[in-house]
């Protein structure tokens, strides 16, 4: 069965890009435009993994991370952001992985695979 990945990012173009690439990599995807919507999807759709942007209008990704862990700390969360300095903020250490945004999505895809134990590549 396909693993389901939730993408939370306020940039529509990036959501589209991530969904496209992760689907290509063989995952089922869904996306939320902000943290609040993302939390709803975590509750209602029970994704297998969340890719979370940090800087978003309204609730930011760090807070969203805490709330997701409060609900269910078994869901792996990948923090995906333009701000590499977030790595220094210990509030983000609760995340399972941390990926700096890049037009090369190879790192993101391989991180998601690793966390979902999908070693086989389905190109």
């Amino acid at each position: 069965m396909q693993k389901r990945v939730l993408i939370v990012d306020d940039e529509p173009h990036l959501r589209l890009l991530y969904e496209t690439e992760l689907r290509r990599a063989g995952f089922e995807t869904m996306s939320a435009a902000n943290a609040e919507q993302g939390l709803e999807f975590v509750d209602s759709m029970r994704p297998d993994l969340v890719v979370l942007d940090i800087r978003m209008p309204g609730m930011d990704g760090v807070e969203a991370l805490q709330r997701i862990l409060d609900r269910d700390n078994t869901i792996p969360v990948v923090l995906n952001t333009a701000y590499s300095s977030y790595r220094d903020n210990f509030m983000t250490w609760a995340a399972d992985a941390y990926v700096t945004k890049s037009s090369d999505l190879g790192e993101l895809v391989s991180t998601v695979r690793e966390l979902l134990h999908e070693e086989t590549v389905s190109q």
């Binding site: 173009h13 990036l14 037009s103 090369d104």
Partner: protein
């Protein structure tokens, strides 16, 4: 028996009484010659009665005419004493008071009675009073001089010494001044004044007598210091060092008891006297403490080593008075000097601050520029991800040989280049992390643990530090390691509540140093242990649940491990390891 005496003594009934009286009395005839001298008179003039008989009494009195005046003026009037000088045939003149009276003698002879009163004792008292008055006025002058002149501390000390030795001052031969050194807790000789031998003394004293200095001019010699002129005594004063802990020492005692001492040559030793005799080279000296209301500032030592003159009660008394006046002046001068120093410090600090502020402004401008660049770079990153990401998708989707595939490839490459620029820029802007350095771990651990000792004590908890990796240096970020230890100590403290013991230990192990923090709290249950290092996990009502997570991250970052184990009999033992630096003599790690 007495040639010019009345023939029958019985005619004057009081004759034998006068003769035997121990009071100095004379009976004179009309020519004021001595008819009878009492035993007291003979004693006073140191002469035998028959030597005196027939001599005019005026011969023994000065001024000579005064007696005649006294005798004539008092004819019939109330006897009025007059002060004269009695000049015995042998011996020193004696100040006396003379009272005359007249009576009719046998055969109608007119006789005079003269009573003499020895004033020597009273005169001495008067001189003493005068001397006191003189010295008091001197002290007043000294006081005004010390406070009036803007003297540096050194000048002040020398001025005081001049007062002790000057002819117009207390007239000691030599004076030595010792000051308390608060930090070194000792009394140390500072400066001295006085000649080194009798020849030098004679020369100096005659010079001074010629020059007729007034005391103020003598005291305040701005031009030269007695440290340079009086070399010998200043060599002596340099040797005079007494630890304040030596409480029985005469100098320390003088300060503590605020009491001046005089030591005479015959005196039996008591502590410190031998020191002073050795230093001074004389048996007799006086010591006066320099005390103010705030305490002792030092001691004055004075002697008459050259002249050998005895130190009188008065000398000692005035030395103490001078010491009191001087102590306050010295204290003031010291405070003034301190104030000047602080003022200078403040000025320098203000100057530095001004420079710092300029620097800060410059930094702030740079920092704002950097921040702006950072924000711009971040904002550019998102669109670049979209552009580059989709260009990659296009490049992948288009068939080999298609020109558009080539164009998509170009877009991908150019975007990657832009992302690299942004990456470099952001890395440049981000403040560099505090870098690791080689530090002695035991010291770091001990110093850090000590900082929490007070807080532990407030909770009745004792802190045992036992470090067994002495001198071992490790490459760490010291403030991060401090943070780990702090977290562990705070956890232990919170676990224990109050009372008990927290042990901090270090042990050298193969390849690493192991740091242990052991408490006597309730310990850590097995289920909690699993989640101990998970962020936001906490069993405490307060606290972020991040302390151990952060500590774990830090220890991992240093290549070590953080662990928790139960202690048999209760309590928890947290340990972390710090690897030893790899020995790489060929390529030593640079300290950045």
């Amino acid at each position: 028996m007495i040639p010019s005496a009345p023939e029958t003594p019985g005619e004057l009934p009081l004759w034998p009484v006068i003769e035997g009286s121990s009071a100095p009395l004379f009976v004179l005839d009309e020519a004021h010659r001595i008819v009878l001298a009492s035993a007291g008179s003979c004693r006073l003039l140191a002469a035998l009665a028959h030597e005196l008989q027939g001599q005019p009494l005026a011969r023994y009195l000065a001024p000579e005419f005064a007696l005649a005046d006294a005798l004539s003026a008092q004819e019939g009037a109330i006897a009025r004493p007059c002060e004269l000088t009695l000049c015995p045939p042998r011996g020193a003149p004696i100040p006396v008071e003379v009272v005359c009276d007249h009576c009719d003698g046998p055969g109608g002879r007119r006789l005079s009675l003269v009573a003499i009163h020895d004033l020597t004792h009273i005169k001495i008292l008067d001189q003493d009073r005068l001397a006191r008055l003189g010295k008091l006025s001197l002290l007043n002058q000294i006081n005004e001089a010390l406070y009036g002149a803007r003297l540096t501390l050194d000048q002040m000390l020398e001025a005081v010494l001049h007062c002790v030795t000057a002819d117009q001052g207390l007239r000691f031969n030599r004076a030595f001044l010792l000051l308390v050194e608060e930090r070194a807790k000792r009394l140390r000789g500072e400066v001295a004044i006085g000649p080194s031998n009798a020849d030098e003394a004679a020369r100096i004293w005659s010079d001074l007598a010629d020059q007729q200095h007034d005391l103020f001019a003598l005291m305040v010699r701005y031009d030269r210091s007695c440290k340079q002129t009086d070399v010998a005594v200043n060599e002596i004063v340099k040797q005079m060092v007494v630890p304040m802990g030596h409480g029985d020492h005469i100098l320390v005692r003088a300060m503590r008891e605020r009491q001046a001492f005089r030591v005479v040559a015959s005196e039996i030793d008591f502590p410190g006297v031998e020191d002073l005799r050795r230093w001074l080279g004389t048996g007799a000296f006086a010591v006066a403490p320099l005390t103010t209301r705030r305490g002792a500032v030092g001691v004055l030592v004075a002697d008459n080593a050259i002249s050998g003159k005895e130190i009188s009660d008065l000398d000692l008394e005035f030395l103490q008075l001078l010491a009191n006046v001087s102590a306050n002046a010295i204290e003031n001068s010291r405070l003034y000097q301190e104030l000047q120093q602080r003022l200078a410090d403040l000025r320098r600090a203000a100057q530095r601050q001004k420079e710092d502020q300029k620097q800060l402004l410059r930094m702030e401008r740079l920092s704002i520029m950097g921040e702006t660049a950072g924000v711009v770079a971040h904002e550019l990153r998102n669109p670049l991800v979209a552009i580059g990401g989709f260009a990659r998708a296009l490049h992948r989707a288009l068939p080999e040989g298609d020109a558009n595939r080539q164009y998509a490839g170009i877009i991908t490459e150019e975007v990657a280049r832009l992302e690299q620029i942004i990456h470099d820029l952001l890395d440049f802007i981000r403040p560099k992390k505090i870098l690791r350095k080689l530090v002695p771990l035991d010291e770091l651990i001990t110093d850090t643990a000590r900082m929490y000792e007070g807080q532990m004590r407030e909770h009745g908890i004792s802190l045992d530090i036992a470090c067994g990796a002495e001198g071992v240096r490790v490459r760490v970020n010291p403030s991060e390691i401090q943070q780990v230890l702090q977290n562990l100590l705070m956890n232990a403290l919170q676990a224990m509540g109050s009372g008990g013991r927290i042990a901090v230990r270090t042990r050298l192990q193969p390849g690493c140093v192991r740091v242990e923090v052991q408490d006597e709290g309730p310990g850590v249950p097995e289920d909690v242990k699993q989640k101990l290092f998970t962020p936001f996990f906490t069993t405490k009502p307060s606290g972020s649940g991040l302390g151990l997570a952060i500590s774990n991250q830090i220890v991992k970052g240093h290549g070590g491990t953080l662990a928790c184990q139960a202690v048999p009999g209760g309590g928890a033992l947290f340990t972390f390891t710090v690897p030893l630096p790899r020995p790489h003599p060929a390529s030593p790690e640079r300290e950045q």
